[in-house]
């Protein structure tokens, strides 16, 4: 679905964020992009979304650029608007008819477990619920590709686990392609099918790990085994 070939990105202040970054992601995959903070994983995600342009290499999408949903580390909601209006934003920006947009946004909110909270304002919601609104907003546009930038990093462990399971369910139900940026080995070992391990800045891919099946819960032997494999790869990436 997406292919990065020798992609480089240098910022205006001279920081070389990425150098010679190459990877491919197939349709329907759940891929984690794992690396230490500051390694350029968020930059890579913004390049995928087209919010930034690469200054070396090329990014190609097979079958044209897909509809993209983006979830940030912070919920990034409009505080002056209720949950429904927030979830409807992508459709409003595309001038979708109001009835249609409302129906889509309501369905998206229901799917993330926020039925009954349509008219709550962000400040009336807990951190986890705000993140759910943010995910509903990404789903409202019915994306093919869902990009998440450390979406659960600011949440407590209990909420993080529940939201992780919800994300897996949404991915299975919709046949989405998910690119999940994280610095958590345990999160990537449980959620994703494949883990791309990045080096410290300037970020390159140091390891491409396909995870075995059977990771049905966070503590199954297969999940623990995957954590060892990912940790080893991350250790080598840090030393490289």
């Amino acid at each position: 679905m997406i292919a990065f070939k020798g992609v480089g990105k240098r910022f205006a202040n001279g920081t070389q964020a990425l150098r010679d970054l190459s990877f491919t992601i197939g349709a329907g995959e759940f891929v984690s992009l794992l690396g230490p903070s500051g390694c350029g994983k968020s930059t890579a995600l913004r390049l995928v979304a087209g919010l930034l342009a690469p200054d070396a290499g090329e990014i190609t999408y097979s079958g044209g650029k897909p509809e993209i949903g983006f979830v940030f580390q912070e919920p990034t909601l409009m505080p002056w608007a209720d949950a429904l209006t927030n979830a409807r934003l992508p459709l409003d920006l595309k001038h979708a008819p109001r009835d249609f947009a409302d129906a889509r946004a309501l369905a998206a909110l229901a799917r993330v477990g926020l039925k009954g909270f349509e008219h709550a304002y962000p400040r009336e919601l807990s951190g986890g619920m705000k993140m759910r609104v943010s995910i509903a907003r990404a789903l409202a546009a019915e994306p093919k590709l869902l990009l998440l930038d450390e979406p659960f990093a600011a949440l407590d462990e209990i909420t993080r686990n529940v939201l992780g399971d919800d994300l897996l369910r949404l991915w299975r139900e919709d046949g989405l392609t998910v690119l999940f940026v994280t610095h958590s080995v345990s999160e990537s070992s449980y959620l994703s099918q494949r883990v791309l391990v990045m080096t410290p800045r300037p970020g390159r891919i140091a390891g491409d790990i396909a995870l075995a099946k059977g990771r049905d819960n966070r503590l199954s032997p297969q999940t623990i085994e995957a954590q060892h494999v990912i940790s080893d790869a991350l250790g080598r990436a840090m030393a490289a």
């Binding site: 919010l51 409009m78 002056w80 304002y121």
Partner: protein, 261 residues
């Protein structure tokens, strides 16, 4: 209980001060052309009620017109600045110069240029200049305070610059703009009064002119009555804008939400 105290305590102070004032004026037999007693001021107010209200209407008209002009011009300028960094760099210094130059110093020029036959327009322009800057400063800061990620999200969904402005930047700017408007409301009144003072008697008909005229005639009680009216007007403008702020922000902005809930 808290609300009752909010009103009762200042009212108690007012009663004490007015009582003491009334007593002191009578006790030391202070001449009425130096300090009239509260009862004399009240009588002057009643005697000149119609003419004072006409003056109030005149000053209030200039104030309200200037306030709206400043709000529209200030917001429009801030929007123009937010769309073009070049525009902001070029013209912001001039907005600051306009702000720091004492308006009393440029008021005579404006009166001459606009002409005394359009005295109300001249007064309005002077008051607008005084009220303009807090609107511009508030709206500019507010428009710049929009969440970058939210704007990126807009770009991701193909939002036009107009949509970003309307759906993201302007709502973000609203609390800052309202705060600027609260300052500007008081300043518009001050600007109108200063403009009337500069215009002098015989041309203007507002409350400031009544103060000058009453002073010249040593009608100090009428002067006090006009002064009180000005103060009450200022408080009323502030209260009206605070109410508007609360109505617009009560659902979502921290400043309008009480913390005990």
């Amino acid at each position: 209980m808290k609300r009752v105290l909010d009103i009762a305590l200042p009212a108690l102070v007012a009663g004490l001060v007015l009582g003491l004032w009334q007593w002191a004026v009578a006790h030391w037999q202070v001449p009425v052309y130096v300090l009239p007693a509260p009862s004399a001021i009240l009588r002057a107010f009643a005697d000149n009620f119609t003419s004072l209200m006409t003056s109030l209407l005149s000053t209030l008209t200039v104030t309200v017109e200037a306030f709206f002009a400043a709000t529209i011009l200030g917001t429009a300028t801030a929007i123009a600045f937010s769309q073009s960094r070049l525009l902001e760099r070029t013209f912001y210094p001039y907005a600051v110069i306009l702000q720091v130059t004492p308006v009393v110093a440029i008021a005579p020029l404006i009166l001459i240029w606009v002409g005394f036959e359009h005295i109300n327009l001249a007064l309005c322009i002077i008051a607008t200049i005084v009220a303009f800057f807090p609107i511009l400063a508030g709206a500019t800061l507010g428009l710049k305070s929009a969440d970058f990620n939210l704007i990126d999200l807009g770009r991701l969904y193909g939002a036009s610059p107009m949509q970003i402005l309307w759906r993201i930047r302007l709502p973000t700017a609203l609390p800052y703009l309202l705060s600027g408007m609260k300052t500007a409301g008081g300043l518009a009144l001050i600007g109108a009064v200063v403009a009337e003072f500069v215009a002098g008697s015989g041309t203007a008909t507002g409350l400031a002119w009544r103060i000058v005229e009453s002073g010249n005639r040593l009608e100090i009680a009428t002067l006090f009555a006009a002064l009180m009216l000005l103060a009450v007007t200022g408080v009323f403008i502030f209260a009206a804008l605070s109410l508007l702020e609360w109505l617009l922000l009560r659902r979502w902005h921290e400043s309008a939400i009480s913390h005990q809930s």
